[in-house]
């Protein structure tokens, strides 16, 4: 009996001895990871060898930046943690833009990077870079694992930190010798994070004070950011807005949190926000900020932002409170839970004259463009996309005019539908983001509303979409310019278009060469038909819309002005 039991103990020991690479893959699977993005290389060979037959859907981008954006958009579309892998040195460095993008927009992302052998660190070895040093300010947390016995715990901690509190990217750097060293894991793995506390529930007293302010307010506005989407608080938001009868405006990243077809929606606010949202914020007596951070693109001149308003700020990040704008009633915690606590305490108020005032602004200054133009107006393409997809598509964007028009003219109806680089403003985000979103949501219609120059930055990822047969739809609003830069040069630099246009390729031919479907649309009358054909196509599709070259985004709050000091309102009115 003794012999028998010791034999079985021995075999159990045998099977629990694992290499670092095995521990990584087993931990990922245990954490529920079934999809990863990444690019191989010298020091991650042991890890990729374990991935060879692992039950994980693995997408290899054409460049690590693309892979990082894919993982980011996968996370934004699904609410799960995105995972990206890269090798040391150049591989890790190529993640930088993607990590910074995810950091600014609070996206739960885990990046695993290979590192040179522990004893070579600091020697300027081949493909060595100080990855944790480089990525420290653009990750929520990062670390290097120098001992295989810390590996499983560190990866678990990375997922926990990335996905809780105010989410963000976490990078774990793993030297190649740790990937191959062996360790017999014994017992369950426990996290050790004495400095990390997540607060979810809000302070009940603060919530009552907030509810009282809402019940008393005659002219309130709900100002909603990406935090509501991250915390899956869309239902609570709608319940609050309906019960207390509150108009709702959203930041760029907040789009989708509230159905824009509903009458309470004031659409987006800020630099290129709606006139009615900006006027409402400037005239409100109570501003209820939820999961938003008073970004400069939202506030314009801070000193005159919402000058008459008492401000309630609901946010999970205490450091966001009173960072840019002094807040009267702070409530720290998770938006979903706080809104849930708030709803029973608020009362319905008719606020007839306030809503009448808003309705008047809405009637007078809607988003408009010249519908009689003979050229293709970019706004028209977006309206048509919205119409043909019944407001249901997942929309990703590049950065610049394409992004602002997408935000203005596509009316979003549910969270996780609009995926765009807001904080960092990363050109080239749209195409890899569409790929990541389509991987996360295989049944969804995914549209990348892109600019020509944004598309140019990462168009190589079209090959990735073709390889995985993803039916993404890339709509290039091709005006031949870096449109937003051109707009600023027109308005503020005497039309000196310095380095803001490049010779573009024939996108139709590029798409075809890479194995996708390519189309070119030059006539306004062909727009609906082309969109219909694109949406029916089951392969990746690129449509090159040759739009009006010098169209501007209106309204516009010039830098340093208050948000009710908008340019372009006369232009919009003349199009009525």
């Amino acid at each position: 009996m003794t012999a028998k039991s010791s034999a079985s103990a021995c075999s159990a020991d045998q099977s629990s001895i694992k290499t670092g690479a095995q521990i990584i893959v087993d931990t990922l699977i245990d954490l529920g990871v079934d999809t990863m993005f990444g690019y191989t290389g010298g020091v991650v060979l042991p890890l990729f060898d374990r991935l060879y037959d692992a039950p994980i859907h693995f997408i290899v981008p054409r460049h690590e930046q693309g892979g990082c954006h894919m993982a980011d958009a996968y996370a934004r579309a699904s609410g799960r943690v995105g995972v990206v892998v890269a090798t040391s040195g150049p591989g890790a460095c190529n993640l930088v833009t993607g990590l910074a993008t995810a950091m600014m927009d609070s996206v739960p992302l885990v990046a695993l990077t290979g590192q040179v052998r522990t004893e070579l660190i600091g020697n300027d070895a081949f493909q060595e870079a100080d990855t944790t040093g480089i990525t420290r300010p653009i990750t929520k947390y990062n670390c290097i694992v120098k001992d295989v016995k810390d590996l499983a715990r560190t990866i678990r901690e990375a997922f926990y930190i990335a996905s809780t509190g105010r989410p963000g990217p976490v990078l774990v750097d793993i030297p190649v010798d740790v990937e191959v060293s062996k360790y017999a894991a014994d017992g369950p793995v426990e996290m050790k994070l004495p400095g990390y506390k997540v607060r979810t529930k809000g302070n009940a007293k603060q919530i009552s004070i907030a509810a009282h302010a809402i019940n008393k307010s005659k002219q309130p506005v709900l100002y909603v950011g990406g935090g509501v989407i991250i915390s899956n608080a869309g239902d609570e938001l709608r319940a609050l807005a309906e019960k207390a009868h509150l108009p709702v405006t959203m930041t760029l990243l907040g789009l989708g949190s509230y159905d824009q077809r509903r009458p309470e929606s004031l659409d987006m606010l800020g630099m290129h926000g709606s006139a009615y949202a900006n006027y409402a914020v400037q005239e409100c007596d109570l501003l209820i900020a939820v999961g938003a951070r008073f970004d400069d693109r939202v506030t314009g001149k801070v000193a005159t932002f919402a000058p008459n308003a008492k401000i309630i700020h609901i946010d999970i990040d205490p450091a966001s409170i009173s960072k840019n704008v002094q807040v009267d009633i702070p409530v720290v915690g998770d938006a979903k839970s706080i809104l849930g606590q708030l709803i029973p305490e608020v009362e319905y108020q008719e606020r007839k004259s306030w809503f009448a005032k808003i309705a008047e602004w809405k009637k007078k200054f809607p988003f408009r463009y010249d519908q009689n133009s003979s050229t293709i107006k970019p706004q028209y393409v977006i309206e048509e996309l919205c119409r043909q997809t019944n407001n249901e598509a997942i929309v990703t964007t590049g950065v610049g005019q394409n992004q602002m028009w997408a935000a203005q003219f596509y009316k979003f109806i549910r969270p996780r539908q609009f995926i765009s680089s807001g904080g960092l403003g990363t050109m080239g985000y749209g195409l890899p983001a569409a790929i990541g979103a389509q991987i996360a949501m295989p049944e969804a219609t995914v549209i990348d509303i892109d600019g020509d120059h944004s598309f140019n930055m990462t168009m190589t990822e079209l090959a990735t979409a073709v390889e995985h047969n993803l039916p993404i739809n890339v709509c290039i609003l091709n005006n031949g310019y870096m449109g937003m830069v051109r707009q600023w040069q027109e308005l503020f630099y005497g039309k000196r278009y310095s380095k803001s246009y490049l010779k573009n390729p024939q996108y139709e031919a590029v798409a075809t060469a890479l194995g996708a479907v390519g189309m070119t649309v030059e006539k306004k009358a062909d727009v609906p038909k082309a969109i219909k054909q694109m949406l029916e196509e089951k392969r990746p599709c690129v449509v090159d819309f040759r739009v009006e070259r010098e169209e501007n985004v209106w309204p516009m709050v010039p830098a340093g002005k208050s948000i009710n000091e908008m340019d372009g309102l006369d232009i919009l009115e003349s199009m009525a």
């Binding site: 944790t132 040093g133 420290r136 300010p137 929520k140 947390y141 990062n142 670390c143 290097i144 930190i161 994070l193 004495p194 400095g195 990390y196 990040d317 205490p318 450091a319 409170i321 009173s322 960072k323 002094q326 720290v332």
Partner: protein
Amino acid sequence: MKHIISALVENKPGVLASVAGMFAARAFNIDSLVVGRTEDPDLSRMTIVVVGDDRVVEQVRKQLGRIIPVVKVQDFVGQPVVARDLMLIAFAAPPEKRPEILSLIEMFKGKVVDIGQKFVMVEVSGPEEKIEAFINICKPYGIKSVARTGTIAMVRYAKTDTPAARNDEAQENQ
């Protein structure tokens, strides 16, 4: 206004870089920063002196709290604290002036730790003002070099129900 911020941090590589990097990235000014071990081998204490208005210092405190390996942050403002700086100072001490120099050192409760033909090295500790005063007194003799630790501080007594203690508690609850 000068604030002394005390941060208990995990004793891990990269923590100092995270803290220093955060200060640089967010354009906060550090007056002094001291790191040392504590009674717990897993924890270190950073004592950071920051100058700024209340809003800036509140941001400093909150941004420190966001750094994952930072376990606890306290702002000692408004609390009775013992704050100390340690200095080594070397300055010219010609033989004919040594008696007066020694009496100055005596007045500051300093300690001569090295003496050569031309120079004397003195160790002085105490609140920052005392250190500054001693430097000023040494100036006429010709200072060769100064090395200071920066401020370390501790609250004078255990937490009781004083307004300052309540303030501390409120900070922790935020």
